[in-house]
């Protein structure tokens, strides 16, 4: 974009940071000041292609490539007439063919291919489908109208809510003033102790305030402004997979039954000199976690496990 310049006055973005490129239906760009200069009378011809243009058709260029702007313009124009919806077709394929046709027309117009024939095609289409085009335009209008209606309702509701809040505030203010007056009256005319009166009034005020807090909150809004209910999507989501909650797992400690005399435990092996009678582990073995006491313990355990073994199985 930096080296982008107006094709007429050669002003670049660098020279004039506020440079604004404008574009018209032909797709040729011009800077804002040039547009002001050339189209002083409201209409003129494009300096590039000499097509007659109107000043109020100039728009700010959104895309770097001016031809894209041209395409957008053409598309807008074409779609104004080619406004059929999917529901207007019997099958999906027909609709797809129709879309294909639109794209061909737009492409042809943008790239100046067979412009005359293409325009003829558009005219033919318009003639053939005049009724439908009008109807669809109306339909579009109705949709827009409905949306507007919704917005209007929302606005009204907002106003009503504001009014309510205001009303509530004045109400509480009035109450407070009334209470104060009552207190002063009481103090003025009553014979009882001033302290008691103040206290009882303070308590009353507190209770009232609490009551207000406990008032039910206004009903929750369950609709979007568009009229779609909250959480509507949740109806589509799947139900959670039912989990079969069986009885809870209960841990039972593993009981070690050696079926023989109980072998010495690790501390005994280390302390009572069992390890003096076995080869010490090498460095590599220690790195792998094979320590002497473990090997010694295993040998001792295996030598004692099963010493009580008897086969009580009967001969089949």
């Amino acid at each position: 974009m930096d080296d982008f310049a107006c094709p007429r006055c050669r002003t670049t973005k660098f020279q004039n940071p506020s440079l604004k490129m404008m574009v018209n239906v032909c797709g040729h760009g011009l800077c804002e000041s040039c547009v002001d200069l050339l189209f002083l009378k409201g209409s003129g011809s494009c300096p590039d292609c000499k097509i007659p243009l109107r000043r109020n058709n100039f728009r700010v260029q959104l895309f770097e490539d001016a031809s894209v702007e041209k395409e957008v313009d053409i598309r807008k124009r074409v779609l104004r007439d080619f406004n059929k919806k999917e529901e207007d077709f019997a099958t999906l394929n027909e609709y797809n063919d129709y879309l294909e046709e639109i794209e061909t027309i737009i492409y042809n117009l943008t790239n100046n291919i067979d412009v005359i024939n293409t325009n003829k095609r558009i005219e033919q289409y318009k003639k053939d489908n005049r009724e439908l085009i009008q109807k669809n335009k109306g339909r579009l209008g109705r949709e827009e109208y409905e949306l507007e209606e919704l917005l209007e309702i929302e606005k009204q509701m907002n106003v009503a809510r504001k009014h309510e809040i205001l009303l509530e505030e004045t109400e509480t203010k009035k109450k407070r003033i009334k209470r104060k007056e009552a207190l002063i009256d009481e103090l003025m005319f009553s014979n009882s102790d001033a302290k008691n009166i103040v206290e009882s009034f303070a308590q009353q005020a507190k209770e009232e305030e609490e009551e207000e807090i406990n008032k039910p909150l206004p009903t929750k809004i369950t609709k979007f402004s568009s009229g779609i209910e909250f959480g509507r999507q949740s109806q589509i989501t799947f139900l959670p997979v039912p989990t079969d909650d069986g009885p809870l797992y209960c841990y039972t400690p593993v009981v070690f039954d050696p079926d023989g005399p109980s072998p010495p435990v690790n501390e005994e092996v280390v302390q009572n000199g069992f390890m003096n009678h076995i080869r010490c582990e090498t460095e590599q073995e220690r790195a792998g976690g094979f320590k002497t006491n473990i090997a010694c313990l295993r040998a001792l355990q295996e030598s004692m496990m099963g010493l009580y073994h008897t086969s009580r199985k009967l001969i089949v």
């Binding site: 099958t91 394929n93 027909e94 063919d97 039954d257 050696p258 079926d259 023989g260 005399p261 109980s262 009572n272 000199g273 069992f274 003096n276 009678h277 076995i278 010694c296 295993r298 040998a299 001792l300 355990q301 295996e302 030598s303 004692m304 496990m305 099963g306 010493l307 009580y308 073994h309 008897t310 086969s311 009580r312 199985k313 009967l314 001969i315 089949v316």
Partner: protein, 327 residues
Amino acid sequence: MFPTSSQCKYWMFSSEDELNLLREKANNKHIQLYGKGMNDPWKGDFFLTPDEEQVMVKKYEIHLRDFCKRFLPPMPRCVIGTSFHYFKRFYIKNSVMNYHPKEIMVTCIYLACKVEEFNVSIQQFVANIKGDREKAADIILNNELLLMEQLNFHLAIHNPFRPVEGLLIDIKTRGSLHDPERLRQGTEQFLERVFLTDAILLYAPSQVALAAILHAASKLQENLDSYVTDVLFGKDGKNRLAVLIDAVRAIRSMEKTADNTPDKTYIRTLEKKLEKCRNLENNPDSEIYKKKMQALLDEDDDLYNAITVQNQQKNDSALSMKVPSSP
């Protein structure tokens, strides 16, 4: 953990009688299956009796031991112990006539090498076998799965070798014997012979180990009785001592029978008899066996072909599938 092992649960038997009964059953089953249409005297002449089967098993057990001793690279003892277990377990449930012990023996050793993490490739393994090595490799690999299946995939074996080490450590630490290392030679000899008996199917490995050590001690005119009764069993084991004494006595008496090798000429006649009556379906030299293997191969091929044809059809139908044209 021997008390929780599959060895303790499924492969410990109460007595030699029970074992012999099971073996007889296997023998009878085989004869009934393959002796249809034979009269009883003929059956008796043709098939091996349970006793004769036992002799053959024994012969091949000795063969197994010698083979393992000569094996190169030298194999650890636990491999030998494990192969003995596999071999014995296999012939509790199967008849010698159905599967030839020569083939099962090498398969047992090969499987034991794997289980006990003694890493030899099949080429290295068959290099120890005389004769047609390729055929031997085929036999071993074909029988391996069968063997595991017959063992119910109970492959972990508790051998008495580690318990011997544990007992020696304990004797050195808590016993009063002078130089317990002297016991080692006698113990090893005893263990080697005990594997030729049924003791390993009847008694726990620790009991076998203790019997071996006591045997070695008595040979050296030493007495370890006080160690066993006072130190090893102590206070809590007093009433269990009788069980152990019986077990040790039984193991030692069984070990004495280990030397009863049958007569060589008798074995030769049995070999000839076995060659005649063995199940041809499992004899790699027989036509039936070759046909069966070929059929298996063909079956695989057929299956493969069927699958490819199916896939081809699927592909064809997918490619020629017509996109529904718009009306």
